[in-house]
């Protein structure tokens, strides 16, 4: 079952490579104004009057009130997010792969079976305040990556905040140790879900991570097509991956 799955994903990637290589035009002949349009550049998270934007010789029409408009080009209110996820999605795939490789390296070198102890018992004040702050920190991390298409942030910062909460739990509780099975399986399933989203986009639209969902109203939560789903998968993956790194640093081998 597992081999079949791996073969399917690999075949999809190979097909994507060949399909993509055929569509690249020679260097210098790409008409950029088709790809990055003026409308796309003028999206701003603050919905300012964008009449001052000039791209090439084309003046953007003034009074561009983007918020509340339906079916806009990409539908995300955050320019950085739509560039990273829609226009440069190979780059994000590469970043996720680099992080995965480093997590595997830490697990190979530092992994162990026994929970490491500090020299002193944790402070009473630290222990109780961690109990109160912990749900709020994790909720804030989830808020960052769910709202990645509306506010600054996205999968990587949100995952880092979740890993920070796990580190705080490790520092304040002598008994706690992360359930590695849950962490690893969440990481793996989320990573492959990201690739599967990309392959569905490839099958539907002909490019990796093509936006196959309706765009919705700019500025609301369920908008921007595939971007929030991709950021949820990336956020959960990075969060569980960095938590696994923190857990492996806190373990030591027997003897």
């Amino acid at each position: 079952m597992r081999r079949l799955y791996a073969i399917l994903v690999g075949a999809g990637l190979v097909y994507m490579l060949f399909a993509f290589l055929g569509t690249i035009s020679p260097y210098g002949n790409v008409n950029l104004s088709d790809r990055v349009s003026a409308h796309f550049l003028a999206k701003d998270v603050n919905s300012v009057d964008a009449s001052k934007w000039v791209s090439g010789d084309k003046q953007i029409p003034s009074k561009m009130k983007v918020f509340g408009k339906k079916g806009f080009e990409d539908g995300s209110a955050n320019v950085v997010t739509s560039i990273v996820v829609n226009y440069r999605s190979f780059d994000t795939l590469g970043e996720v792969t680099v992080l995965f490789a480093s997590a595997v390296g830490v697990g190979l070198i530092l992994g162990g079976t026994r929970r490491m102890r500090y020299g002193r018992k944790p402070n009473f004040i630290l222990r109780v305040s961690t109990g109160i702050l912990l749900p709020l920190i994790i909720l804030f991390g989830v808020y960052i990556f769910v709202h990645g298409h509306l506010t600054p942030g996205g999968g990587f910062p949100g995952g880092t905040v979740i890993a920070a909460a796990v580190l705080l739990l490790y520092l304040s509780n002598e008994e706690f140790s992360l359930n590695m099975v849950v962490s690893k399986s969440l990481e793996g399933s989320m990573g492959s879900l990201y690739v599967i989203f990309g392959l569905i986009g490839l099958a539907v639209g002909g490019a990796f991570l093509f936006n196959f969902l309706p765009n919705g109203v700019v500025g609301s939560l369920f908008s921007a097509g595939v971007v929030p789903l991709v950021y949820m998968t990336i956020g959960l993956k990075v969060g569980s991956e960095l938590s696994g790194v923190v857990a492996e640093i806190h373990e030591e081998r027997e003897g």
Binding site: V128, S129, G131, L134, I138, L139, V142, Y143, V146, L221
Partner: protein, 155 residues
Amino acid sequence: MSVFITSLVLWLLLTKFTYSELLAGVIVSILVALTLRKYHGIKYDWKLLWRFIYYVFAYLPVFVVEMIKANFDVAARVLNPKLPLNPGFVEIKTDLKGEASKLFLANSITLTPGTLSIDAKGERLFIHWIDVKSMENKEKYISQRFEKLLKGVFE
């Protein structure tokens, strides 16, 4: 359950209210509450509203006034060219039992004039006091203002 309520309230405060935000908040709060059911320190009971009102109207004004006094105290000490200091580590007893109430007592002590709580063991709190006035009746100077109020809030 109490984690769920706190998370939902925080989510709605962080975002603007729409129905899709409410739906996402409910889902996320359920997940957070299920994940952390062993490691949280928030517990509510049926007297929540009364406690909240008591906290806002009885505890917060005293706390804010003490904090402003503490800052003028710090300002007077720092701006004085001779640096009048008389510090020492003292130990006081507290009557509070609950963990959250002791945490709030320690935080209040840290933010009030001239005291910094260092450690808590059982009923004993260890405090760095910048101006040791007397070794008897230490509790009168340091913690008695808050103990009654916090007992009303948390116990």
